[in-house]
Symmetry: C2
Subunit: 406 residues, 2 copies
């Protein structure tokens, strides 16, 4: 028996189920594969033997399509970091025992940085202990786009499309009145500002887009911020400002922390507002104009109704690629995307040792950030534009998108 085990981990994205669909599709069309098990709640579910038979749920291409358009992890997720095997070998032995019990030849783990760490540790353990009947391959996902070794990460393109569309729509919304007004939009990203940069895509159809873009890669200076805002208000009444949630000052302290050290809520507890709320308060108190802050919050990672078709297709291909590498007898790699051209956009699907990926973080390089640190460059737009192309044909029922639930 050649069985597959697949699991998902980390924060939800719009594309992680498309990668799962890719694994299932590649397995279903391969006569070498018998059963396809899905583990519920990631590696934690693997160790608890919480398996489902995916062939029972995914019977035809309609099911695959529906799975691919369902946001978040259909198999559930976990936040679980394996200890090193020298520290705690039991979990590793348990993994091997369970894998053999279910005749698992290939384990595909779809996730972000922590998940790639798991793939790395498990495959290294197998290698060091001469276990070669279980091949372990990672498939990337993260809206943050901060994994190294791949041009971009599945999930990012769809989140970028949601963010750009939302900025374009917000620009129309805030442009109707004649009074000076600032709208600050806080975008996810603690250490990498890729998602915030995607707000600039709202300019591609002639829109003004955000007047200012502050990324967490650039030290944030409150006084410069106030000057920037005042200057932009001279040009236009209603302005949008895109900010990363993880803005930091030159000492590396989060802006959201340092500017509200004395604030307490009604319970007398420290009142931690997001960065957007803090900057809203600064604009209100220092500039005095109308101001509002908006958090794109969870919507930016689960708005599957406006997924990027490019993203969803690539996510699926990476699932297929991951299984293919495992079936070639490879273990300890992550499937990846290499961009071969931007215009026209072409990619090849590849893979690399997962040790080169795990525990690294891809931040925005400085040539993609404008010199004065409050915008992105043209090169950034060239990088981003291909990733948001194409719309998915979302299946609606009763006026609401349909999702697959296991």
């Amino acid at each position: 028996m050649n069985n597959i085990l697949v699991a998902q981990s980390g924060g939800p994205t719009v594309a992680i189920n498309a990668t799962l669909a890719g694994v299932i599709q590649a397995a279903q069309t391969n006569s070498m594969i018998d059963n396809i098990y899905g583990a519920i709640n990631g590696i934690q579910g693997v160790l608890e033997e919480k398996f489902i038979d995916l062939k029972k749920y995914i019977k035809d291409t309609n099911d695959l399509e529906l799975l691919g358009q369902t946001p978040s992890s259909a198999l559930g997720s976990c936040r679980f970091i394996l200890k090193s095997w020298k520290e705690d070998e039991e979990q590793y032995k348990k993994f091997i025992d369970i894998a053999r019990k279910y005749d698992i030849s290939y384990f595909i783990y779809i996730g972000g940085n922590d998940s790639m760490d798991t793939v790395h540790k498990l495959s290294e353990y197998c290698k060091e202990n001469g276990i070669d009947d279980i091949k372990i391959i990672g498939a990337p996902k993260t809206i943050d786009n901060d994994l190294v070794g791949t041009d971009h990460c599945p999930g990012f393109g769809s989140a970028a499309k949601y963010i750009a569309t939302t900025f374009a729509e917000l620009e129309r919304d805030i442009s109707v009145y004649q009074i000076p007004a600032v709208t600050i939009v806080e975008v996810m990203g603690r250490n990498a500002g890729w998602l915030t940069a995607a707000s600039a895509l709202s300019r591609v159809n002639g829109g003004t887009g955000p007047a200012l873009i502050y990324l967490c890669e650039t030290n944030f200076d409150t006084e410069q911020f106030i000057e920037d805002v005042k200057e932009k208000l001279l040009d236009k009444n209603g302005i949008l400002i895109a900010i990363s949630e993880g803005l930091k000052d030159s000492y590396g302290n989060y802006i959201s922390d340092i500017l509200q050290s004395d604030a307490v809520d009604a319970f007398g507890h420290k009142n931690i507002s997001g960065t957007g709320k803090v900057l809203e308060s600064i604009v209100r108190n220092r500039i005095g104009c109308k101001v509002r802050s908006i958090e794109l919050n969870l919507m930016q990672r689960c708005a599957s109704h406006i997924a990027s078709a490019t993203d969803i297709n690539e996510a699926k291909m990476l699932g297929m690629k991951a299984l293919q590498r495992a079936m070639e007898g490879i273990s300890g790699e992550m499937a990846s995307i290499i961009r071969t051209n931007s215009n026209p956009y072409t990619v090849v699907y590849s893979s690399l040792p997962v040790g080169e990926v795990a525990n690294h973080e891809k931040k925005i390089p400085s040539y993609l950030i404008s010199e004065n640190g409050n915008d992105v460059t043209k090169e950034m737009l060239q990088y981003l534009i291909p990733l948001v192309q194409g719309e998915v044909n979302t299946l609606y029922e009763n006026g609401i998108p349909k999702h697959m639930v296991f």
Copy 2:
């Protein structure tokens, strides 16, 4: 010369430009009409003669389509309440002078409650002063759905579709982990909870939807809220709670005000958080589980990429109806929708004296709210479902929706 003047007012919606498109389309196909003027920034722009020639911008059905899918008011908006003519007749005389200067026979004003007040005052002034060469008709719009005299308001159905879709997607997002977690979603509505009620539509395809729904029509009791949340957490780990921004206690005080009277921000100023943030703080302090609050904020009124086709079509029809009534020689009415059946859904387009609409507010009647006040009834779903049916064929360019800007 028989010219038309059209203007938009009040808060943005996804459908207000579809009503404008309806007026333009009806005018373009009518040989009795010469010029179509659009006033920039509502009645304020009318009084300042800020007119544009809409025929120059809208040349064919493609332009009409694009206008209809553009969120917010393409002609801009204003928050301007006319004084009574007995208090300040000058503005009324100015309006008449300008209308005659431009040979305006028909003035169509698209907006919410304040705009219908303007239509009422202007038409009453004309009537009382024997002016019958200018016919003034209102066309409704408001995401709040709180106008009387119409089954529902254009803009509401699209906002409802956005809200229901977002709740369905959020449900998938928050369901991946195994720990108790509460996600509170704050929806617009200071006095009417229709939009919050729309969150229940996320159940139509088998989803659980919000575990609890609190509308501003029901007095909010904090202790009961805590009991409700604790009870729901016994059933399910991750729960969604929908709340109206305008929740009030039994004395009519806003929950957001009374529960944070002592809170101050880093500047020592009173820190006004939204209702969601206040309830988040209550759950954290009184229940102690993981909790997050989300504001759907401006996105719920400008997310045109997920507009309801039913809403957009009806909005267009109401623009046509408004012009038709004016051309029949009627003044001082608002175009309206009468629902003749819910399943199958059928409507007729009608109109009523605008005085019956202006300065009234349609709140949710009690039979649409569950007895214990923390959910809606089946009848509410029957009312809502037809309004979110159908998807618009959004035009994308470079991966981002295209909008029309005058």
